[in-house]
């Protein structure tokens, strides 16, 4: 299941050249680019792992791609996203976020229906990958 979250997720997978252009744009706006990865792509999972520290003083996309290559090498089977952070006073939030790496097989989600009082039903989504053995995890 091709998960769709963040920017460009309904488009075909971005090539490295396209990723570079997006990073160039973020840098030209003065945003700090960072890389994060996770095994659990649940839409409510906001805590992805940081790959190295956010690149606040980096002025060239080559540096980000260098880090991305390293991250992909270490976690080939994880979700990796690139974020851009705008530190302008009053904004101070993420302005861009898009997935740049996916597992070869995306396990997707399972829906759990809990029958409550009366005829109430509570729905929970659980990502399959969160239940998989840790061998699937990135080795860093």
């Amino acid at each position: 299941m091709h998960i769709t979250q963040g920017q460009f997720s309904f488009l075909p997978v971005l090539t490295d050249a396209e990723i570079r252009l997006q990073i160039d744009y973020a840098i030209s706006k003065g945003w700090a680019v960072s890389i994060e990865w996770t095994d659990d792509p649940h839409p409510r999972n906001v805590y992805w792992n940081m790959w190295e520290i956010p690149m606040f003083e980096i002025k060239d996309s080559g540096a980000v791609l260098l880090a991305l290559t390293a991250c992909r090498k270490a976690c080939p089977n994880a979700y990796i996203k690139i974020n851009a952070f705008d530190n302008t006073r009053g904004v101070e939030s993420m302005t861009m976020s898009f997935i740049v790496n996916r597992p070869t097989m995306e396990p997707g989600f399972r829906l759990v229906r809990q029958e409550g009082e009366g005829r109430t039903i509570r729905y929970t989504t659980i990502s399959f990958s969160a239940e998989m053995p840790p061998g699937n995890l990135c080795h860093k």
Binding site: E52, M55, I58, K59, D60, S61, G62, A63, L65, L66
Partner: protein
């Protein structure tokens, strides 16, 4: 068949590339600003020609890979290695081989860490900052310390090598240092030597060239040397050259800085003792006495 023919008939205007990149201007500026260094200038012209041709080949589609541009500048201190590196960055930038006209200048301390696990992040941080431009590593031979086999320098070299090989289109590395020490460095790190395409040796300046440099420096500082001071400067250079720790143009600049100090002192004394106003000529003329007060002359007298 017809496709091949059109390819063969395609031409590229080299002059257009030269004009677009304003390379001639950079080369002329280099010629004008740097005294002597004829072999270095010759090599840079060759490299410039190579880059222009390589750009043309790229336009015609006969060349696809980025040429190896890593360089090594060897020479004694004060022979203009850093200055040439700046010019080189400008040239590479104008020809589109690097994305920004920047030189990040580092030494061993910026690359090598203090404890286990410190070096890799430190080196990577520097590399990231230099990406898209030129990384200038001054006194690069200090990275390798053969007397200590646990030295972290080796780790920095390995990371550096990897990036030099895999990210050629992102980063140009220029190593600099004394000739003999760099030679030893390359002997013990053959991987580094083979990844460097251009080795440029900076010769020492002759006395006449140094005098030329001194005149230029004085002019840039908006001072002038009076005629006797000029002769004194020539003597000074000849004496200083023979002494140890002579750092070519840098020594000359230091000598001139000290002469300016003595000049200021002299003008100040003159103004307060004689109670006169200093004229523009007073304020901008370095005299024989200012230069002759140097300890270089004293040592000769003692000896």
């Amino acid at each position: 068949m017809s496709q091949i023919n059109t390819q063969i008939n395609q031409t590229v205007d080299l002059h257009q590339i030269l004009r677009d990149a304003n390379i001639t201007e950079v080369l002329e500026q280099l010629d004008l600003d740097l005294v002597g260094l004829a072999p270095v200038k010759q090599r840079i012209k060759e490299i410039a020609a190579f880059l222009v041709v390589s750009r043309a080949r790229l336009q015609l589609g006969i060349e696809s890979a980025q040429p190896n541009l890593h360089m090594c500048f060897t020479g004694n201190p004060g022979t203009g290695k850093t200055t040439v590196a700046m010019r080189m960055a400008e040239m590479l930038y104008r020809l589109g081989y690097i994305r920004k006209n920047s030189v990040v200048s580092v030494t061993r301390d910026d690359l090598v860490g203090q404890y286990i696990g410190h070096t890799a992040p430190k080196t990577k941080e520097v590399l990231k900052k230099a990406m898209g431009g030129v990384l200038f590593i001054d006194e690069a031979y200090y990275l390798y310390r053969p007397e200590n086999e646990r030295d972290y320098g080796q780790e920095a070299i390995e990371i550096l090598l990897q990036v030099m090989e895999n990210n050629r289109d992102d980063l140009v590395v220029i190593l600099a240092g004394y000739k003999d020490r760099m030679d030893t460095f390359f002997q013990s790190n053959p991987g580094m030597s083979s990844r460097i395409a251009h080795h440029i040796d900076f010769p020492d300046y002759t006395t006449a060239e140094l005098l030329d440099i001194a005149t230029k420096m004085v002019g840039n500082m908006h001072y002038q040397l009076e005629e006797k001071a000029f002769a004194a400067m020539r003597d000074y250079i000849a004496l200083r050259q023979a002494q140890p720790h002579f750092a070519n143009a840098r020594s000359i600049r230091n000598a001139l800085d000290r002469a300016r100090l003595r000049h200021a002192n002299r003008v100040f004394d003159m103004a307060s003792e004689q109670n006169v106003n200093a004229s523009i000529t007073d304020l901008s003329t370095i005299t024989e006495a200012d230069i002759h007060a140097s300890r270089v002359f004293n040592q000769v007298k003692k000896g």
